[in-house]
């Protein structure tokens, strides 16, 4: 079976190639069938592997194969190779599963779009790249997928290329990601070269894992930080999150698939994949956790003041990704992956729901022009509600289990910190607030849309609602694979992932490092013990926070709709900042975009123009001027020519006779 794992990414590629070759001649539905079928095949294949894994003992749950040697240059030898283990198979299932649903949904959603076929081409390509990313057995194949999904993201964000905002957003996404890739690439180089200097020339995950102990601490810290820079870019963390909200310019299924469920989690996956390195670099983990929690909080705060439903979801995604990074940062890799999975369900669902709303509202996105959709689009409403509950962390829904696991780990793990937990918990409440603000604003109250729009409001077709329902079901039950021990579950997912992450065991002793004193100081308050009572207490606390958030939202947007206005009026300054996303985009625009442009203009004018060209043209001009002057010596007067001869004679005589005499 191991020899056939390359088929998993191959199916979508085949779909892509088939459609690009023959798509032009096929009907729309045929194209969409091929596309969906390709993904479904992948899903089946992944599921088969998963089933196989369940039969195998923990240690044997690794399939690895090299397809063919890719780049070979001296000691640098990299193959196109694949690796399926517990981690990647889960990722595969999520990607293909959610991906399949979204494909199906898209058949309905994109039905009238002129770029229908192109859309499915991109989607298939994307799934291929994503699968490459998660199944690659070495860093370079992963990087291929990494860049590939970036490309697809670029293409899909700019899908409606005629809209300037869309193509701008695509470009922004790509470039910001490239900033991250810069770190990622350097990380790869540094890792390869440092290992190479110890005699191990490899980029293969397994081999790196084997030989990771050859590297010394500071080096690992630097390498992991560099990788994290890549993750920050791809997973839209501070300071590189700015592309994700803009990415909502893409068609909504894209937002759902790429910018919520799969691609943006690639950073999380990468850290999980390289957990053996991160484990060796506690300082990096601290940075990861800090960035994660700050992003979570920061994005959530922006989510408060947005009115565009997709933007809110985008910030929420950023925020949730922050949670995953908290998990990574505190060493709770399994919890992070768990949250990744549940997040894929409910956030995918939320976006699809938003898409359904747009479908109903003739493309309207501004929450202020919605309201009261509950009756007209019941399926959307109910599925949306389930997703909101899941994301808010209401017990029983999937988000509850995964998020609480993270919070608990943040509190309890040896790398966990009270401050991080506190901020994360607060953010969880905020999440509940703005998600319900969204829910209430969209589905409750009176409809604020124009009459014409109002007239058209209708529930989406079956092909769209069925995926919604399936995802809703997953959002409901998806959490039960990771029911913690304290609630009587077995935390199946953590166990399943154990071969990859070890038994969730934290790194033994914290080496003293530069950050050492800080982390000890932070850690002093946390991790008091593992008593289940404490865990229960914290769980209750977080549920309470979530409920408070929901209540506040209810208060503000259902009970007393005037309140928000008054509230914003009294905090006008703060609101302005939040509403404008703290002017970060403007800052970046001013510093980087215009900075580079100004530098470029300067260089073009001064360096190229004045200095280099100046020197060259100056020489040419000087020659021309000299030539003009020499030409004027040639006066045409014969006696002056004779004069020159005499002068020449004098010089020659002087040189040959007079000067040697002295």
């Amino acid at each position: 079976m191991a020899d056939y794992i390359w088929l998993i990414p191959f199916f979508p590629l085949a779909g892509f190639l088939f459609n690009s070759a023959f798509g032009g001649r096929l009907s729309k539905s045929a194209v969409s069938w091929v596309a969906c079928l390709a993904i479904f095949c992948s899903f089946i294949a992944a599921a088969l592997v998963f089933a196989e894994f369940l039969r195998l003992p923990g240690a044997g749950r690794v399939f690895e194969m090299d397809l063919y040697p890719w780049i070979t240059s001296g000691q640098f030898q990299v193959a196109i190779g694949f690796r399926l283990d517990a981690l990647s198979v889960i990722m595969c299932l999520v990607v293909t599963g959610v991906g399949f649903l979204i494909h199906v949904y898209s058949v309905g959603y994109m039905h009238d779009d002129p770029g229908f076929k192109r859309f499915f081409l991109y989607l298939n390509l994307f799934v291929f790249m994503m699968l490459l990313l998660v199944t690659g057995n070495n860093l370079l194949v992963m990087f291929v997928g990494w860049e590939g999904v970036g490309l697809c993201s670029y293409l899909l964000i700019g899908f409606w290329y005629e809209k300037d905002s869309a193509s701008d957003a695509g470009k922004k996404a790509f470039i910001v990601n490239r900033v991250g890739d810069f770190g990622f690439l350097i990380g790869i180089f540094l890792l390869f070269v440092s290992l190479g200097m110890k005699g191990v020339w490899t980029l293969n995950f397994a081999q790196i894992g084997q030989h990771a102990q050859l590297l010394d601490g500071p080096l690992v810290t630097i390498i992991t930080l560099l990788f994290f820079v890549g993750a920050v870019g791809k997973s839209a963390q501070i300071p590189l999150y700015v592309w994700l909200p803009d990415a909502m310019e893409g068609p909504t299924p894209v937002s759902s698939l790429i910018h919520a469920a799969t691609m943006v989690t690639a950073g999380v996956y990468m850290i999980a994949r390289l957990n053996f390195l991160y484990r060796m670099a506690p300082d990096t983990l601290l940075v990861v956790a800090t960035i994660g929690v700050l992003t979570a909080f920061f994005a959530a705060s922006i989510g408060f003041a947005q009115n565009d439903i997709k933007k809110i979801l985008a910030y929420s995604t950023i925020s949730q990704l922050g949670f995953m990074f908290i998990a990574m940062g505190v060493g709770a890799y399994a919890a992070g992956i768990f949250h990744l999975m549940t997040h894929a369900f409910f956030k995918g669902l939320l976006f699809l729901g938003a898409g359904s709303v747009m479908h109903a509202m003739s493309g309207e996105l501004d929450m202020r022009n919605m309201g009261g959709l509950r009756e007209k689009t019941p399926v959307t409403y109910w599925t949306f509600l389930i997703a909101c509950l899941a994301i808010a962390g209401i017990p029983g829904f999937s988000g509850f289990f995964s998020k609480d696991e993270i919070l608990w780990k943040a509190f309890s793990a040896s790398q966990g910190y009270l401050l991080i937990w506190g901020l994360a918990a607060l953010t969880a409440g905020m999440t509940a607030f703005y998600m319900f603000r969204l829910l209430f604003g969209t589905f409750h109250g009176t409809c604020r849309a124009s009459d014409e729009v109002k007239h058209h409001i209708h529930e989406s077709p079956r092909v769209m609602t069925v995926p919604l329902v399936i995802l809703a079901a997953l959002s409901l039950v998806g959490g039960y694979v990771g029911v913690p021990h304290v609630l009587g579950g077995s935390n199946a997912i953590e166990q399943f992932l154990a071969p990859v992450f070890g038994q969730g065991a934290p790194a033994p002793a914290q080496p003293q490092t530069a950050f050492g004193f800080v982390s000890t100081a932070w850690a002093s308050g946390g991790a008091a013990g593992h008593e289940s009572s404490l865990e229960m207490l914290l769980m209750a606390l977080s549920v309470a926070i979530a409920l408070v958030g929901i209540f506040l939202a209810y208060l503000f947007y259902v009970k007393n709709p005037a309140l928000p206005g008054r509230f914003t009026a009294s905090f006008a300054g703060l609101h302005r900042w939040v509403e404008n996303k703290y002017f970060v985009d403007e800052l970046y625009e001013r510093v980087f975009v215009r900075g580079v442009q100004r530098l470029g203009a300067f260089l073009l004018k001064v360096a190229d123009g004045w200095i280099i060209e100046g020197a060259i043209n100056g020489t040419a001009d000087a020659l021309q001027r000299l030539a003009g002057r020499l030409r004027r010596v040639e006066t045409g007067y014969v006696q002056e020519y004779a004069f020159a001869i005499i002068v020449g004679a004098i010089v020659v005589v002087a040189y040959l006779v007079v000067i040697p005499m002295f």
Partner: protein, 512 residues
């Protein structure tokens, strides 16, 4: 006599003979001329294929060597041969020339005969320069490249073609004449040392030059090659030349001519002057890095498509130089590979721009926008080539760039990190360019009526794209060919450096 067929001589002479045939054809029969040129270039390509397939990829030494006495009293001989380094460049040349002939099919409407004659002469010169192992022979071909290119730019170029052509010519000539002197100094030095008069580059490399002399001679060689590459700050001829040249001229200029500079470094400057190489490595690396970043920043500011691509060449060739001067296997192979890539992808970009230009007669970015709507097929090709140019994994550009950066990183971490910033900037200018041309709404009425690619154009671009992916996904096919040569080359250069008693090149050289 069982002499092997002289492939290289045949390759060198076929286009020249072809150009003579073309000259005899009647001027009016343009179609015959074009067809003849096409047949000739395709024949040339087919003739060059044995080089690839019969190339012994395990052999370090030169292959397909031919040596004939030319001027024995002076030690000038007709000595040609190829190794893994030059072989692929020869193939690139023969391939791109076909593409150039095809893409000129409609674009060139005046003086058609002269145009193809120039092109064929240029091909002879390029292949000759790549195969020459005698320095005088090399120099002759090297200079011979100038004239047809000068005419191509000057006769069939854009509005400022005269300025550009002359600038191109003079820039290149300044460097090359000094190189000629350096060749002579070396020649006489060796003769004084051993009493043997020869221009054979491998024999000359055995000369034991004092370090100071090496510095001077290397400087002369390096200037010549650096102008051709072009390295910062000798690059200003390139934007003008590219902008004004006809499409095929730009393609061949970017595709092959610029590589001649790098090739010159590899074949001549580095093996001949090891002590100077050691001393100059930091300088050249820094110039390369500045070139990478500087070229990229310049691209951002350009309003003319061809100018933009020209500056991107500065950036890309900066990578190549950096890789080669890393003096390790990855850097060298990456540099070599990137040369091929650049030929394919930048050549492709020029082709695309040329196709747009043929339709609209403008290259100003501001005149476009939204072309995807009317030219979807072009958009696909353009996108792929653009992505290849920004080194997206899976395309050819990635393999080269990655290896170069890895090589640079191995030799000096600072170089590696600084050069990697080009990855970001590359995406910035390329995507911005693509967006401004292809995306958005059509703002100008003239663009609304543009026709999509014809079959001929599709064929051209499909060839390019085929290589983009072939070289990106299965680089082993090509890397293998240069493996032995590169390893042998590095071994040789390092032995030379060691023999000079010079300090090792900065950074961990390691084994190849």
């Amino acid at each position: 006599m069982n002499e092997p067929f002289p492939y290289l001589s045949a390759l060198i002479l076929l286009p020249l003979a072809g150009s003579l045939v073309l000259m005899l054809l009647p001027r009016r029969q343009t179609l015959t001329i074009k067809a003849a040129a096409l047949v000739l270039t395709i024949g040339e390509f087919i003739l060059s294929l044995p080089l690839f397939f019969w190339f012994d990829e395990r052999a370090v030494q030169m292959q397909f060597v031919e040596q004939r006495e030319w001027f024995p009293e002076f030690g000038i001989s007709y000595l040609v041969g190829i190794d893994g380094i030059s072989m692929l460049l020869v193939l690139l040349t023969t391939l791109l020339t076909i593409v150039c002939v095809l893409c000129s099919w409609k674009a060139i409407e005046t003086k058609i005969k002269e145009y193809y004659v120039s092109f064929l002469v240029l091909e002879t010169a390029m292949i000759g320069a790549l195969c020459s192992l005698d320095m005088v022979l090399f120099y002759i071909f090297w200079e011979l490249m100038l004239i047809p290119m000068y005419l191509l730019i000057g006769v069939w170029g854009g509005p400022r073609r005269i300025y550009a052509a002359i600038k191109f010519f003079l820039f290149t000539m300044v460097g090359s004449v000094l190189m000629l002197l350096a060749i002579m100094v070396l020649y006489f030095h060796y003769a004084a040392e051993t009493g043997v008069y020869t221009f054979n580059v491998f024999t000359l490399a055995r000369a034991s030059l004092p370090a100071v002399k090496q510095y001077w001679l290397f400087a002369a060689f390096a200037l010549s090659f650096a102008i051709k590459v072009p390295m910062f700050p000798f690059h200003t001829w390139l934007p003008d030349a590219h902008t004004e040249a006809p499409t095929a001229g730009s393609v061949i200029l970017a595709g092959v001519l610029l590589k001649m500079g790098v090739y010159g470094f590899l074949r001549f400057a580095i093996p001949l002057f090891p002590a100077a190489v050691v001393a100059a490595t930091p300088l050249i690396s820094w110039l390369a890095i500045i070139g990478i970043v500087y070229g990229a920043i310049m691209c951002i500011m350009q309003t003319d498509l061809k100018r933009l691509i020209a500056y991107s060449s500065v950036s890309h060739l900066g990578y190549v130089m950096l890789g080669i001067f890393a003096f390790n296997m990855q850097g060298l192979q990456g540099g070599l590979y990137q040369m091929l890539n650049h030929g394919i992808s930048t050549g492709g970009l020029f082709l695309v721009v040329g196709m747009i230009y043929e339709r609209r007669h403008t290259r100003m970015i501001a005149d476009f926008g939204g072309l995807t709507t009317v030219m979807p097929r072009l958009a696909v090709f353009f996108m792929i080539i653009t992505l290849s140019s920004i080194a997206l994994p899976g395309t050819n550009g990635f393999v080269g760039e990655f290896l170069i950066l890895l090589g640079a990183f191995r030799s000096n971490v600072t170089y590696g990190v600084l050069a990697t910033t080009g990855v970001i900037l590359g995406a910035v200018y390329m995507l911005w360019m693509f967006q401004r041309v292809m995306f958005g709404k059509i703002t100008q009425e003239a663009n609304r009526l543009l026709a999509d690619l014809t079959k001929r154009e599709t064929l051209i671009l499909a060839t390019i794209v085929l290589f983009v992916f072939l070289m990106g996904l299965y680089p082993g096919l090509f890397l293998r060919k240069m493996d032995a040569s590169s390893a042998g080359y590095l071994k040789y250069v390092k032995a030379r450096i060691a023999a000079m008693g010079a300090p090792a090149v900065q950074g961990p050289l390691g084994a190849p």
